[in-house]
Symmetry: C2
């Protein structure tokens, strides 16, 4: 059986502790072992910071863009192999696996292009020079340069490929070396990607380190030039963000955590409209894709009171057609959740929501028989559609994210202000979506929801067939959200680089600043 | 004697606790009492968030700009009165007081103009719309809208006017209500400004609250839409940033803390050059202005080995001419530090630095006689110029900020890379300055120092007489710095607004997005 090791300080490494066994969540058969992590974290960090950082900063943004683009090609060239691993270790259907792996390759490709377009520069110019006093000589210019630290990336179990590479793409392009840690339970895809990167020798030594197992006292070695980006649960986020050394050293932290993403149906959309069909398709996809284990998945479905019955019928009918079982089988539409622990959490979450909602599809989430799986095996949960009994007083649906194939219908008046109020009760989210052909309604919703979200999706009839749904994170748009969602921001094309760069205002004599930062910045650097 | 009270939830308030006495730091005579803070912090926060927030968000950026501009005029109209209070309670000379109060009015004026130029809009457009997939219909547009929370501002004792108003200017312009808390010891100026604001009825009810005394459990009422901005010591910053509720709610935090700002003299500047004179004048000003109590003051003075004697002579001569005493007297060039505690800390800091440096001016900081002050009274410290015994091995000078009229000469080789290495040992700073007419040297220094600073000042001979020194924070340029400096960022014209706004990516059908966010955003909002 394969053993997953760390790649740190220029070589594969493992510690003395006990190995953990990874299983296929559909069959519970072992698929790999994860060795204990390295011991000397000070050395790991120093190697990345010094060797990796110096090598990356010696390159221009354009040259780093080429590296990132090469990573994209590498992932794409091994697509089938990686898909097979995602199916075996992630409970992914082939479609789920493609979503993850193509997402990784696509984000790398997009950031490769961003870098190539930035070209032969080693720093970015931020805005125009500003005259600072009455004298025309005294001006200020903002620039942005790579931070001289490491980026520690702690990723979630649900997107081992995309999660690792979307963060790495931005950091590497910015010129900051990465120490990446996948969630252990689904680490097989990430580990194989790391092997490919090491074998292909695309990146300079130290630019990308990979941690299998725990992170030990890694965080205690971080300093003021380092950054920490985390995707996962609020509880872990709080623990990381509150770490003594992280706080004391002003380590920059970006968190992407829980989110009770909403989809709001406008009352103008007739049941036979394309906008309505888009809404149903998006909710269905978010409930079943990756068995609902997406941080962007729709958890709350706001439906005008008089349309609830229709939506419930249409979603239930579609959910009933989804086949559950071993995702290695072609006819299966939804696999298991990733771990036993996830299965237990999701089932408990369903029970909690049922205190204020009725289950209108899927009951308590139990699965009597999973296709192609021995009886009793696998971490399966049925899609469960709930409907709130009292939309005005319910609280759990706005506070508790059930990270599985579970959504709750929340009846509302059809008025934008009521929908905004209900969605806002979620306390901040990554993305919400609104479906309507009424521009006035879309506008009210967009401005009402914007303060509470990092991203919004406005679905309309003419958009059907042209858009990817709200659950897809795109490199051009920021990803993250306020409050419960962690208060972070990633991606968004050039915007995502800011986390890894230091913005500096430089004041001085106009001709000198023009010579340094003006026409030919690449010569000056 | 005047009693300073809180202005919260629409009225002046005080709690049941014991009042604290404020003194004139030159004479130690009482000047005011500060009443205990309010009790019901939940109500204080709710009032600001709801009444203040709704009122501010009902206005356009242009209208809020007018409010901020009106605040500037109000402060300016009461300039003489405020200067007198700063002299009486802050140990400020008239020049020190003007620096603080004109800084407040100037920053308000600058942000007023920023708002007025933004005009009749309720949201900001961030970048251009981006096509998201192969379809030309599906596009994304980033916008920024006011966060729907409160901004808690906790300010430092050294700039009661500027500190309060530079933060308030940006938050109010962004549409976010402010709860501001001055440092208690020098609260007189801030309290009077608050009275003026309340009397003038410029701001909507709830837009600006003022806390005298402690903040009680204020922070435990903060939520995901709220922000917390702090200026002060690293220790307090860590305590605030690590607060359970602040972490749990993903409250945005901005910190501006310690900084070992450096001034680097280039070896090309002859002793009779204007660039050299600018360097000496800037160091002298930063040592004595506000008795060295500026977060931007020069603490480390890097001088090429063969120029050390000249710099030491020139600075000592100038320092010797500075008269110390009651800052109410015109001939006095430097007043006391703000409190007994500060005096003790500064004296202890000097002793600590003397473990690795020789005192070349000012001895241990004791002042035998202060002009116009009864013997033994007042929190005076002499300017102290130190010189490192061994520039290569010293550590305290790079780690310990002495917040008073104290700077240390650090001899260096004259090579840019050596200077960069020494300055970087400070672990991140707010601002450093470089003095040279050699563009190559300035360029090497600028790019070398940029990752470690929020701001740099490049002084050159032709700039003499045209620039304000590195110690002056300007509204056009960002203020803050990585690592030890707290990792924050404020001001910088439009850049400063980002902390108070939520950036949201909105994806949808191109014609709909154009209608909502395109040509006439103010009509759509």
């Amino acid at each position: 059986m394969k053993t997953i090791r760390s790649y740190v300080a220029g070589g594969w490494a493992e510690g003395a502790g006990k190995a953990q066994t990874l299983v296929n969540p559909a069959t519970e058969e072992p698929v790999a072992e994860v060795a204990a992590g390295p011991v000397d974290w000070g050395r790991v960090v120093a190697h990345a910071r010094t060797r990796g950082g110096e090598a990356l900063r010696a390159l221009t943004f354009g040259e780093r863009g080429q590296l990132v683009k090469a990573l994209s090609k590498l992932i794409h060239a091994h697509r089938d192999e990686l898909i097979a691993l995602a199916i075996a270790n992630g409970g992914n259907t082939r479609g789920d696996a493609k979503f993850d792996i193509d997402g990784a390759a696509g984000t790398l490709a997009a950031y490769g292009e961003v870098g190539i377009n930035l070209g032969k520069v080693k720093f970015l110019v931020d805005g125009e020079a500003a005259q600072l006093t009455r004298s025309v000589r005294f001006v200020g210019q903002h620039i942005a340069v790579p931070r001289q630290g490491v980026a520690v990336h702690i990723n979630a179990f649900n997107f081992p490929a995309w999660g690792m590479m979307e963060k790495a793409a931005v950091a590497l392009l910015a010129g900051v070396p990465v120490i990446t840690k996948p969630a252990t339970s689904t680490a097989l895809v990430a580990a194989r990607m790391m092997e490919l990167v090491v074998e292909a020798k695309i990146l300079p030594e130290g630019a990308l380190s990979f941690v299998a197992g725990g992170v030990g006292d890694l965080l205690s070695h971080l300093e003021g030039q380092d950054v920490l980006a985390f995707t996962g649960s609020s509880d872990t986020a709080q623990m990381l963000r509150g770490q003594k050394d992280v706080v004391a050293q002003s380590v920059r932290v970006n968190v992407e955590a829980d989110s009770l993403n909403a989809a709001v149906l406008g009352r103008d959309l007739a049941r036979d409209s394309e906008g309505y069909a888009l809404f149903v398709a998006d909710v269905l996809r978010d409930m079943t894709q990756k068995a609902g284990q997406k941080c962007t998945a729709i958890r709350r479905v706001l439906v005008p009171d008089d349309m609830v019955e229709a939506v419930r019928e249409d979603l239930s009918e579609r959910l009933g057609a989804v086949k559950i079982g071993d995702p290695a089988r072609e006819e299966v539409g939804m696999g298991p959740v990733a771990t036993k622990k996830q299965q237990e959490d999701v089932r408990a979450g369903i029970a909690r929501l049922r205190e204020e909602a009725d289950s209108v599809f899927g009951g308590d989430g139990s699965v009597a028989e999973a296709i192609g799986v021995p009886k009793g095996k696998g971490f399966f949960v049925s899609p469960v559609l709930l409907q709130l009994r009292d939309g005005k007083t319910a609280t759990r649906v706005h506070a508790h994210e059930v990270f599985g194939p579970v959504s709750t219908i929340i009846p509302y008046s059809g008025e934008a202000k009521d929908a905004v109020d209900l969605v806002a009760r979620g306390g901040g989210g990554l993305v919400s979506s609104v479906y309507s052909d009424d521009r006035r309604f879309l506008g009210e919703m967009a401005f009402g929801l914007a303060p509470h979200h990092g991203r919004l999706f406005l679905g309309s009839s003419k958009l059907a067939g042209h858009a990817v749904g709200p659950g897809t994170v795109l490199p051009q748009l920021v990803h993250g959200g306020p409050g419960r969602a962690g208060g972070g921001e990633e991606l968004g094309s050039l915007r995502g680089l800011a986390f890894y760069l230091q913005r500096t205002a430089i004041a001085g004599d106009k001709p000198i600043l023009e010579a340094l930062f003006g026409n030919k910045p690449d010569d000056a650097a």
